[in-house]
């Protein structure tokens, strides 16, 4: 049996979680997920400005902080903290924690080879719209294939204490130790499906131990010291989801089911780089004491393609807010919205979208929101987006004047006028597996 924990569900997750996971109980592997779809474009810009950057900068200081402990306790780290510059990330880890052996997985970053790939006939059509990638070629800011677990397992085979990757499927960070320890092969797709589902359960951190959980949330114990998730995996692919003894949070079948269904599509065909997992084959047993056992998982062979994540410049946007107070707060906010729209119209400004929300009334829930009569305050929230940066910038000057020349009782403008932000959008595509060449390097 091996114990694999996840100490970071996204870049920006609780900084103390990985430290506590190592301190508070036994572990064999600790995975850390840092990359969201748009993160890659931010990192690509940082690398363009400074060739020594382009990775998750929180990661090397974290490893320095736990270096002694992970050596003593034989905990190995797997992280996609490498972003678009895994080697620079590895060098920084080595500088701060010279005693650790560090290996990197390379080959996911295809930004520099895009033209060669396009010329070779890989259209990389948008999976949602069907448009070929060539239509946005000039706007592309990053391009990465989602690697699977096998190259990461290869990096573990070097004996590295720390394995750093760029873009890979989140769950493959959890599956790699299983391949490494149990010798699973590429055609062991039932086992790989079990490992993938195990990885999916823990990849969002404390969402599988009581965080963001709706079931009786008021009674979840000690969320200030919530235990992050651990999977105890057997060589036959059965596994138990749990957390360290004495930590806060809760692991029950209800909590784990919420995470199982989180951000999935067709549950019979959960398609990842190494297999297709069938969630309808899961047999789940709540064993009590924060332990949920999984068995029976079946899978199907991996697809012939890998998913590619491409980010590109889409346009500009700005979102501004003003607060209106009782009485008739909602009516005042609606009147202000009409004034802003009239002004934008008179100025002849064109946007792809103008979006208005009444925060505190129905901004999130829309028609499903419970009705409120005469609320104490309402935040008017207007956003615009479009290709023309100047038009978006002009919009940002239209809200604050209403404090003096609009409906009464407007406040909450202390942050000044809203900022214009670039929209970097995400282009999902597929590429044949053979077009992506991976390799592993030990960084001295």
């Amino acid at each position: 049996m091996i114990r694999i924990a996840n100490g970071q569900g996204f870049w920006g997750d609780w900084l103390e979680a990985p430290v506590r996971l190592v301190e508070q109980g036994p572990l064999d592997y600790l995975m850390l997920d840092y990359l969201a779809e748009v993160t890659m474009s931010i990192l690509q810009k940082q690398k363009a400005a400074d060739p020594a950057l382009g990775y998750a900068r929180d990661f090397p200081p974290l490893i320095a902080r736990i270096a002694k402990l992970i050596r003593e306790r034989h905990v190995r780290i797997l992280a996609n903290a490498g972003g678009v510059n895994p080697i620079a990330c590895a060098k920084e880890v080595r500088r701060l924690a010279p005693g650790l052996k560090v290996a990197v997985v390379l080959g996911d970053d295809i930004l520099d080879s895009l033209d060669t790939l396009l010329a070779a006939g890989h259209a990389m059509r948008n999976m949602d719209t069907g448009q070929p990638l060539s239509t946005i070629r000039e706007e592309i800011q990053s391009a990465n294939a989602y690697l699977g677990a096998f190259p990461i397992a290869e990096a573990l085979a070097t004996g590295a204490d720390v394995v750093i990757t760029g873009r890979c499927t989140d769950s493959s960070l959890a599956v790699a130790p299983m391949i490494h320890e149990f010798g699973w092969k590429e055609d062991d797709y039932d086992l790989l499906a079990a490992g993938t589902i195990a990885g999916h359960v823990i990849e969002c951190g404390a969402q599988s131990t009581g965080g963001n959980s709706q079931v009786d949330w008021q009674s979840i114990p000690d969320m200030a010291d919530i235990g992050f998730p651990i999977i105890e995996v057997e060589a036959d692919g059965t596994f138990t989801v749990t957390k360290h003894d004495g930590t806060g949070g809760r692991v029950t079948s209800a909590v784990v089911k919420e995470q199982l269904l989180y951000e999935i599509g067709d549950p019979r065909r959960y398609t990842m780089a190494d297999c297709v997992a069938d969630f309808t084959t899961i047999h789940l047993t709540d064993e009590g004491h924060d332990r949920v056992h999984f068995s029976g998982i079946r899978g199907a062979p991996r697809p012939p393609t890998l998913k590619v994540s491409i980010s590109y410049h889409y346009g500009w946007k700005a979102v501004g807010t003003l607060v209106f107070t009782w009485p008739q707060a909602l009516e005042k906010a609606r009147a202000a919205d009409r004034i802003v729209r009239t002004h934008l119209d008179q100025l002849g400004l064109h946007f792809e979208k103008i979006h208005t929300e009444y925060f505190g009334v129905n901004a999130c829930l829309g028609p499903a929101a419970p009705p409120i009569t005469d609320p104490a305050e309402v935040e008017l929230r207007i956003g615009v987006r479009g290709a023309d940066r100047k038009a978006v910038d002009r919009f940002t000057r239209e809200l604050i004047p209403l404090v003096l020349n609009g409906p009464p009782g407007a406040t909450g403008y202390g942050e000044g006028r809203p900022k214009v932000r670039e929209i970097v959008a995400y282009w999902p595509a597929l590429i044949p597996r053979q077009a992506i060449r991976t390799r592993v390097e030990v960084v001295e």
Partner: protein, 108 residues
């Protein structure tokens, strides 16, 4: 009798691009049949009204006593494009729990 969905189920929701997904889980095994009967894709689509522009697709997971819904064109473009507060559909699960469903007393 009419009850809100929250009496017999809990949910979690998230995003993939412009699509949101809502996992609906029966509180007890005996509640699953009512979920399958009451939560038809058409009713879910009607419940969200203008918030969801596209279609609603449903998948059944009897082994987990759960349903998975995909809501298309549900996030104003999704991710970084969306101008909504909830650009990731994080609250769509809670919105669905407010839906009124028809159950027999014995089903509660």
């Amino acid at each position: 009798m009419k009850v809100p969905l929250s009496r017999i189920a809990h949910t979690r929701s998230g995003d993939k691009g412009d699509l949101s997904n809502i996992g609906v889980i029966a509180r007890e095994e005996r509640h699953y049949a009512a979920l399958v009967r009451e939560l038809t894709p058409d009713r879910v689509e009607a419940h969200f009204g203008e918030l969801v522009k596209g279609r609603v697709e449903r998948f059944e997971l009897p082994n987990l006593g759960a349903l998975n819904f995909l809501l298309y064109e549900a996030l104003d473009g999704g991710g970084t494009i969306s101008l909504r507060t909830d650009a990731q559909g994080k609250t769509h699960g809670a919105a669905l729990l407010a839906m009124e469903i028809e159950v027999e007393e014995g089903e509660l």
